[in-house]
Structures are given as C-alpha cells and as structure tokens.
Amino acid sequence: MSTLLRELRLAARSLRRAPLFTIAAIVTLALGIGANTAVFGVVRGLLLRPLPYEAPAQLVVVWGQHPSIGHETASLPDFVDWRSGNTTFEQLAAFGNTVALLTGSGDAERLDGALVTADLFTVLGHRPVAGRIFTDDEQRSNAAPTVLVSEGLWRRRFAADPALVGRSLTINGRARTVVGVVPNDIPLRSSPPDVFFPIALDTTMGRRADFLNVVGRLKPGVPADVAAGELNTIMARLEQEFPRTNTSWRADVVPLQREIVGDVRPALFAFSAAVALVLLIACANVANLFLARAAAREQELAVRVTLGASRSRLAAQLMAESVLLAGSGAVIGLGLAAAALGVLRNTDPPLIPRPESIQIDLVVLAFTVGIALLTALLFGLAPMLRIARGYVRPGLNAARASTGGAAAVRLRGMLVLGQVALALMLLVGAGLLIRSFDRLQRVSPGFEAQGVLTAQIAMPGSAMMDTTRVAGFWRDALAQLETTPGVLDAAYSSSPPMGGVGYWSFSLEGQPPRGDGEVQDVQALTVSRHYFSTLQIPLAAGRAFDASDVRGAADAVVVNREFVRRFSPDADPIGQRLTYGDPAAEDVEWYVIVGVVGDVVQQGLADAVYPQTYTVVDQNFPRGGYLVVRTSGDPIGMTSAVRAAVAAVEPNVALGAVATMEQRIARTVAQPRVSAVLLLGFALIALALAAIGIYGVMAYTTALRTREMGIRLALGSSPAAVLRLVVRQGMLPVIVGIVLGGLGALASGRILDRFLFDTGASDPATFVATASVLCAVALLACWIPAWRALGRAPSTLLRQD
C-alpha cells in the first residue's frame, strides 16, 4: 500500500513537472471520458433504470394495428372487448387526451387533461397523494361529476392545500368534486396532465373512433407476445362481427419500457458509438504523448532498471501516472457530463422522453471510474508493452538519448492511422447529419411561417357556452383580432401546421365502394375564412372560403394538391362531393369541393405531404382549436394583445400553448438538429484531438530526424526535396487511415441511415469533403514541423542529437 501511495505521489510530482504534457493529456481524456459519461447517463436513465411504476416489467402498451397505418390508438368498444375477453392481463386500463378550462377560482386557465379508466392508477401502481382514486361507479355516464387533480397542479395552483379534496372546481363550465390528488407521471404523455376525468365506457361510439392509449399489467410470467396472441383472437372475432370497421385490424402488445424509449434507442446507439470513437481517439492521442514521453524518459527508466527495478515495478510506475491522468480526466469529464446532462434535462420541449430520469447516480459514477481505468490501461499499454518486451535495458550508457526504436516509430504510425480512421468515421457521420439537417430545413412547409403566432383556446362546456355562443365567439374574436394594432390577419384552425392532426376516412361521390378494412383517409382540418391568406397558402384552383359558406348553405370543402394527385388525377376536382361518413347512409352529409390549395407539411418537416381537406368553422362551430395570427412585428410580443382581444369577447375562455409558428417548426426539427449538433460536436472534438495527435507525432518524429535532414542537405539535397520526403512519409499512415476510415464509415452507414433526410448514407460529396478536411489538417501537421526544421542552417541540424 505504501509502495502504491509512493508511486502515486511520485507520479503526481512527475506530472506536475511536465505541465504541458499533463494538461494536454488531462484535457484530452476529460473530453473523451466526459462525452462517454454523458451518453451513458442518458442510456442509464432511459434504458437501464426501471420506470417509476410498480413492477414496471409487467407493464405493456396495447395498440391497434393496421397493415397500411401501423400502430393506432384504440377505440372504446375495442378496448372494452379486449378488457372483458382476455385472461392474460391482471388489469387493462386506458386514457385519452383532452384540454380543460378551469374557471371560478382565480384566472381562467387552460389545463391539459386526461380521460382515464378508473383502474389506470392501480395498473401503474400510483397511490393518491391525498384523497382517493376513481371508483368504477364514477365511470357511469350518469355518475356525479368528479375530478382528480395532479400533484403538480395541486402544488402550483392550490399551494398543496389538503382541503382541496372534497371541494368543487368549475372545469369546462361544470362543477366537479375533487376526489383526490394523484401523481401526474402518466406514460406516453409528453406533457403531464393537470386533471383527470373518469371516462364513461360508452360502447356505442364508433369502433374506428380511435383515441385511447391502452396500458396493461400482464399476469406474472406472461410474455407480451402471448398476450398479443390472445388479443388478436378477440380481434379476429371482431373482424367477423364488424367487417366494415374491423377488417385487417389487429392488436400489438409492446413492453412499456420499449414503447417509451424505442425511438431514442437507435440514436443512443449511434451516440454511444460516436463517443466511443472519441474516447479511442483520445486514448490514441494520450498513448502517443505517453510513448514520446516514455522515449524521452528511457534514460530514467534504464537507470531504474540498472539499480534493480523489476519490470513490474516500472510498469507500476507508468501505471500510476496513467491512473492519475485518467483519474483527473475523469473528474473533469464528470463535471462536463453533469453540465451537459443538466442542459439536456431542461430543454423545452424535451428532446428525450423522461428527461427527469437522466442524472449522475452511483451506477454512472461507477461507469466513469471503470472507463477511466480502462482508458488508463489503453493508453498506458503501449509504453508498458515496451517495458514487458525488454526494450528498456539496463546499461552504463543510460544517458544516451533514445528515439524509441523502430518498433515505437511503427507503433506511433499505427496510432496516427487509427486516429485518422476513427476521426474520419465521425466526421463523415456528422457531415451526413448536417447535410441531412440542411436539406430538412430547406423543405418548404407550404406556408409563410414568419410573423405568425398560434394559441390554443380552451372553452367551457355547452352548459356555459352553447353552440350559438361558440359560433359567435369565433366570429367576434377573429374580427376583434383583425382590428388589433399589429395584427395583419387572423384565422382559426382546428390543428395548425407542425402539430397533431386528425385522420378521417372519406369517400368521393361516385367512387366505387371501398372494400372492408381498406383505408382511404385525409388529414382533416377545420379552418376559418382567412386561414389560407393568414398563412399565405396559395390557392391553386377554385376559391377559398367566403361569406357564402355559412351554416345552412351547401357544406364546402377545400382540398390540397396532393388530394387531387391521389384521388382525382384525371378529373376536375371542383364541384365533386365527398363525405366523411357512410356514402350509402340515408342521412349522408356531402361536402362540395370548392377549391384546391397548396400542400402544407402538417406534422413535421420530415413528413411526406398527405392529402388534406379543409372545412370551414362557420359551418360546424368547433368547441376548441387554435387562433392563428399574422403580425407585423415580433409575434411573441403580441401575446398579451391577443389575450386581451380574446378576453374582451369572451371572459370564459383561456389561451394556452402560445407559440410562434417558427417555434412550432423548430420543435419538429429539434431532434435532428440536436443530433447533428451533438455529432458535429463529437466530430470536432475528434478532429481537434486527431489534429493535435498527428501534429504531436509529426513534430516529434521530425525532431528525431533533424540530424538526418541535415545530412541530406549536406549531401546536396534541396530543402524542397527533403520537405517532400518528410511530408510524404508522414502522410502515408494518414492516407491509409483515410481509406480505412472511409470504408468504416461506409460500413457503419446503416446506423445513421434512419436519421437521414433526403441524404444517402454513402453521399459522395460528404465523404470527399470530410476526407479533404482531415487530409488538409494532416498535411499541415506534417508540413509545419518539417518546414520549421528546414528553416535552420544545415550545420545546426547536423549538430542536433
């Protein structure tokens, strides 16, 4: 122990006496270890830490599944059949999303709500913070209206008042008794609900009114696929009973953990690979520094051997230095990782699911210690191998300077080659993501986003605001906004671009009936008259909505170009009629296509354009939706003016989810942007480390060859010829590294392929550009030390030892 402490103490002093080497090594290692710790912190939080629910391994999500749609939420009737017909679940619960308006106590507030089955909290293992959870009786449609308040809202709005339980709150214009306060950690929700309402199990709803997220707890030992098999037996029966709605529909059972983190798993894999490459480059760099230092210290090591030091003792001495360097790097890296994770935890909107689970705990600390030791072994290995192989010999002429020998020169060449190959792989990856992100940002959304503000409106129920008042509200609010200074145009939209949207199936008049289970749907939106002008969506044919489109007149619908391309490519769409219901029904409601507008990217820039239909607010008076306001200045600065205009018209509504259209677009590209920025960051670190590493090695090997250069000059070679020779020899491992790195990047392209938008994983321009950057850096690293050496007189070079 005392020997170990002595070696550590002496190693610390030795490192202190070589500050440049020590700082370079520690910074390099801190970057490598910090990046790995940060990514492992995310992996640990998302993939390794159990979900914050009781026995989370038993929890699953049940999806409806259709061959042409994929996963879909469930309808109430299907859910009720799953629940009553299965034997593999202990419990099966469901919830749907809603928006609520809280009035009566303080300012009206728009709340995020959830419609839940009574057993949702039991399934998750949540116990109420105060009061109780719902009972089955409260799911009946005639039950007394109740509500559960989330712990977050309880603390924020009600100062954690325990007397809230039993009090009545006015929500959506209706008095509801608070029966309890519950945790608001509900899976599959990006924003936690503020309030929960019991859902009435109304089996008369359509079987394709899909809005329920279904969460189940499997009986112990039952695998997900067995449960899926059982649910699909039920779905096959439903297909027989309800062919019109249930043909081809199946159920899929996915473990909750996989469902929550499934999307980020490939990204985490890619980032883990990237930071591992950074760490390897860092190790190669420090190994090179270590080799050069060991060569310079061979005199000292030889003296130690002469005085009787064993090889293991020398190795222990070098290992003590490695451990100290790696330990210092780990401490700083841990700080860097903690800062990075803090940023990641607090991004708005969250870039990862469950950001609160990302933290540095004992497991992450253990990982850091482990990786630091591994790193110490990796970069300390080369000099130790030299000792083990007997390169350090005792002798009376230990004072003679050493070049480290041909084997060390070869080893340094290999390290440069490896660094270049690894750095190129990272650079190519970053280059591809940046190119992809650039292309994504160049996608035209189909409207002009600049200067537009959007805000969601929450309205009370019909008891407080009947349909006439709702219709009047939209009309008057939009008119009020249009006269507000700074507002250029204002409109209503049920779902403005860059957000969720409803998919409705429809039929064109005269079209042959669709087969059972055949899906023909559109993104269906309801908008106001000025919507197209407010967002500057171009009119391609026919007309936009106008004053004639009111209730009582023929129902009008505007479609987009993609709709025409897909469903009416050969006929003029104007005047055709479509219905969202059953075209064979007696009371079928037909909508006349009056216009065609440009395509709008509705959900995210990376999504393909989808057929869209627009109906007009003046004909169906929706009880919620968004205001879309084009302003002449900074849109976010208009928030209070918009709020005031709305309040002047109707005090019982509340604004929420206020954002500019540019913010909404930025959110849809936030993840690709972050991926590109992160990978670019890692790649730049790798490039910097590789450049420093190559420069260090070249400077060192050039210094060793100074005398040789002097001899060549003395024998009549021109400085240019010597320079070419040195650069050519220095670039050889670089070129080989670039070839190998290029091949590695091609092979690993599969990892990145799924993150790329309109960019191939083998994009030649990216490969050529990144290889050129690396080549240029390496060329400079080779050229500068040789050029500096050749600037001296040959006689000086000849005297160099």
Binding site: V303, A309, P394, L396, A398
Partner: protein, 266 residues
C-alpha cells in the same frame, strides 16, 4: 563488518584493508556481439578475480572492452561464454529478474553521467534502490541519511539534481551506490563529466570508501586516476594484456621521486 545477504563482505567501516578472499571470479569470459552478419568479439577469454576490499582499476584505450567488461561485472549484460562467480555464487546464467535482484542488493553503480533522476529529490534518488528491495521506511531513512552524511551531502537532501553542481551530483550518485551496502562498487569513468577539481574530490571520496573496506572496480582511461587503485588491469582488443600492483608501482614511483627522477604523467 556487516555481511550482505549473499554472504559477501558488505561496505562498512572496517579495520581490514582487504581479506584476500575472491569476491569476483571470471573464468574464460567471452562476449561476442552479433549484428546482422558481423560478429564483434568484445571480450576474449577473460580470467580475472577481484578480492574483497580490493580497489581495482580497469584501463585501456577506447573500444578495448572496458565498458563491456564492467557491464558483465555489473550483471547489466550476459557473457557469451565463460563463468562469472560473485561471492561464490555463479551469476553468469541467472534470469533477468534474478540479475536485477542481485544488482539491487550486491552491486552499487557510479556512472560517468551521474544518472540521477530529475523528478526525484536528492533524498529520493538515494532511497530509490532501497525501495526496490521492499525495505521498511525507518531502515531506509537511516541508510539514506548515513550515506548522504558520508558524502557530505545531507544538507542538500531536499534539493533536486538540477539544483546541484556536477561534483555534487556525482557525490549523491556515490551515496546512492553505497546506501544499499553492496558487496562491490562499480564505477564507470566516474570523473569523466567533471572538471579536475571535482574529479579529484570524487576520487578522494572513493579512496575514503576503500579505506573503509569497500570493494571497488573502476573503469577509467585516465592513468592519474587509475593509480588510485590497488591493482590495474589493462585491456587491449578484449584481452587482459597487463596486470599491475599499483601499490608496488606507486612505491617505485615514490622511490624514483625521492631519488630526484621526474616521473611525469603518461
């Protein structure tokens, strides 16, 4: 007189000049260096011995094999042929690890270039070979302090080598060599990097150690310093060409001087 672990007489103050028992015995030592297709015969059929307490100087021109011989004596190299006995133990065919152990315990080295480690203080440099023995801290401290006092460098024990003059550095190197109480001190041109004043001082120090009972084998090309030894061994082309009892030679020289003859340096 203390005794080293191998049974050899260790360096310590003693009344006996030397015991006459052979501490080192070389029988037919040959050393051939093989480089590519060239064989270089560095030593050929060396037979020699060094007695306990003896002070031997190995001299000869450049390339005669002095350093090779000293390397073999110091177990820094192995002979191609022949036997080497140190304190009665055959050491010519030991493993590298065993050679390191014997070097550490029985041999003290004094180098031409001092070879102190720059990162270590004077104290730590002297302590270094003792740490390789696994000696406990108290004993190490005692020996290091004693050794530094013997070379009159105890007052500089917290200094680093770069803060010392060449002569001081060599004195520290001598302290490092004697601290382990080895059976023999091997000195390779110990004055080669020193000016004449410091060179004389180091030679006086070796004399003093010898008078205290130390067995010393020194390589030098300078006849002035060779004369400090009891016996001179002259090498030429890897062979011992002359052995001379320096004490008798010195006595003759003194007699010649007394008779008025000039005995200049060679």
């Amino acid at each position: 007189m203390s005794v080293s672990p191998a049974g050899a007489t260790a360096l310590a103050p003693t009344d006996t000049k030397y015991s006459g028992r052979p501490l080192i015995q070389l029988d037919g030592i040959r050393k051939i260096f093989f480089t590519d297709e060239v064989e270089t015969h560095a030593l050929a059929e060396i037979h020699m011995h060094i007695n306990e307490g003896e002070y031997v100087a190995i001299a000869g021109p450049s390339g005669c094999g002095k350093t090779t011989l000293l390397s073999i004596l110091g177990l820094l190299d192995t002979p191609t042929d022949g036997n080497y006995y140190l304190a009665g133990e055959k050491v010519s065919d030991l493993s590298a690890a065993d050679r390191a152990r014997v070097r550490n315990r029985q041999i003290g080295f004094i180098f031409q270039a001092f070879n102190l480690i720059g990162d270590l203080t004077v104290y730590e440099n002297v302590e270094l070979p003792l740490t390789y023995r696994g000696m406990d801290g108290t004993e190490r401290k005692r020996r290091v302090t004693e050794a530094l006092e013997r070379v009159r460098m105890a007052h500089r024990m917290r200094h680093y080598p770069s803060q010392l003059s060449g002569g001081q550095q060599q004195r520290v190197a001598v302290a490092r060599a004697v601290a382990g109480e080895p059976a023999i001190l091997l000195a390779d041109e110990p004055t080669g990097n020193l000016d004449s004043t410091n060179g004389e001082a180091v030679m006086s120090l070796l004399q003093e150690l010898h008078r205290g009972g130390a067995t010393i084998c020194m390589v030098t090309h300078d006849p002035r310093y060779a004369r400090h030894a009891d016996r001179g061994i002259h090498l030429f082309d890897g062979r011992v060409v002359e052995e001379e009892d320096q004490r008798i030679a010195s006595q003759h020289e003194a007699e010649l001087r007394a008779s008025g003859f000039d005995v200049g340096q060679h």
